[in-house]
């Protein structure tokens, strides 16, 4: 069939977490790390960037003077087993930030992470990224925001260890970040994007 799409088998030599960090700290471009694979991050389009700025502005001003803070997309986050190093589009950390080493560039205890979907990243944000984020003990909420339409998916850790998946479409008008008790309206999230 003409249109068959088959995943290529990547040429694979395992990269260790320390090798990844050494390369990454010397690199001008950002790469994420998953189980020995290093994946280059591509640049983000306008709507993606607008949504990111809206998140920082709204959450940042709301958290001013509170014990949680919002961090931007250059803050790297690591899983406890060191099997993933990820740059969430935004991160909320509460209390004292715990960092992996004396370079102070890798956060271990995010409470909330955000990923803004673009067509090329959506599938993996929903797939293996979710799985790795779920391994981070401190993580309470993983919020995914669509940059193509007014839509968000929230995955929330429950007190008994279960996870709740919520699909929030435009009709809901807002998504709730329970950790900081903030209702973020879709109007605020999508300001300037035309969505």
């Amino acid at each position: 069939m003409e249109n068959e799409i088959k995943e290529p088998a990547p040429k694979y030599n395992y990269v260790s977490p320390d090798e990844y960090l050494e390369m990454e700290r010397a690199s001008t471009e950002k790469h994420e790390y998953y189980n020995g694979y290093v994946i280059a991050m591509s640049g983000a389009r306008l709507k993606h960037n607008q949504i990111a700025v809206n998140l920082y502005a709204k959450i940042g001003s709301y958290l001013d003077g509170k014990k949680c803070q919002v961090l931007p997309a250059v803050m790297r986050v690591a899983t406890p087993n060191r099997d993933a190093y990820i740059y969430p589009d935004a991160t909320i950390v509460c209390g004292e930030p715990l960092l992996e080493d004396e370079k102070f560039d890798t956060l271990l205890n995010p409470s909330v992470v955000f990923e803004i979907w673009s067509p090329s990243t959506q599938k993996n944000d929903m797939g293996y990224k979710l799985l790795f984020y779920q391994h981070i003990h401190s993580l309470k909420e993983y919020i995914m925001i669509d940059s193509a339409k007014r839509f968000a998916q929230v995955v929330r850790k429950q007190p008994d260890g279960a996870w709740r998946f919520e699909d929030i479409s435009g009709t809901h008008d807002a998504l709730f970040i329970s950790i900081v008790n903030l209702n973020l309206s879709f109007d605020d999230i999508y300001r300037n994007t035309g969505l």
């Binding site: 249109n3 068959e4 280059a40 998946f165």
Partner: protein, 196 residues
């Protein structure tokens, strides 16, 4: 960097659902269809097949008296809300099996879908595919059974249409498929399964 993985740009000619179904009905292999693109579904490993065999022998007799049926991976389903066509490893239908008005050989009303995960499908089955399945209004439970480790995940629709994920990783654990009132232990599901 040596290990950089880049997504390939697919060669893209839009395929209509009708074209897909025409090709698919005479095809030897199974393909999934989503948004104008056709995806080959790969064959299953021995472990995948072993797990499937266990599910069949554990569940098929149990649904019989409850007005439900267990279908295997030959029954194509269609989701009109997002236009997906795919073959879940197992679907459970209660009451009459409804097929699409337009595409009459496709099931539209499963109550339970069970997918057996392999290394290559885990990402998709847990993520994007689950999101597409959530659009099925009749779907109450989505169950993922890993064929590479002892892991079962159950996703259950709640009253507010959110979904609750519970994970089971011990052979001594059990979980219940409430739609058919059947409780399965991981010991039984993974009996005689040799991980690849």
């Amino acid at each position: 960097m040596e290990n950089e993985v880049k997504e390939p740009a697919p060669k893209y000619n839009y395929v209509s659902p009708e074209e897909y179904l025409e090709m698919e009905r005479s095809s030897q292999e199974k393909h999934e269809y989503y948004k104008g693109e056709v995806y080959l579904m790969s064959g299953a490993s021995p472990a995948h097949n072993d797990v499937a065999y266990n599910i069949n022998r554990l569940i098929a007799p149990a649904v019989h008296g409850k007005g439900c049926k267990l279908y295997g991976s030959d029954f194509r389903i269609h989701i009109p809300e997002n236009f997906l066509f795919t073959y879940p490893d197992f679907s459970i239908v209660c009451g009459k099996a409804l097929t699409s008005d337009i595409y009459t050989d496709n099931l539209t009303n499963p109550s339970v879908i069970i997918e057996i995960l392999s290394k290559s499908t885990k990402n998709y089955d847990r993520g994007m595919k689950f999101a597409l399945y959530r659009s099925i209004k009749t779907l109450q439970e989505y169950i993922l059974i890993d064929s590479t480790s002892v892991t079962v995940e159950t996703y259950t629709r709640q009253n507010d249409d959110s979904w609750l994920l519970k994970e089971f990783k011990q052979l001594s654990n059990s979980f219940t498929i409430s739609v058919i009132g059947v409780t399965l232990s991981l010991q039984d599901i993974y009996e005689d399964v040799n991980f690849d």
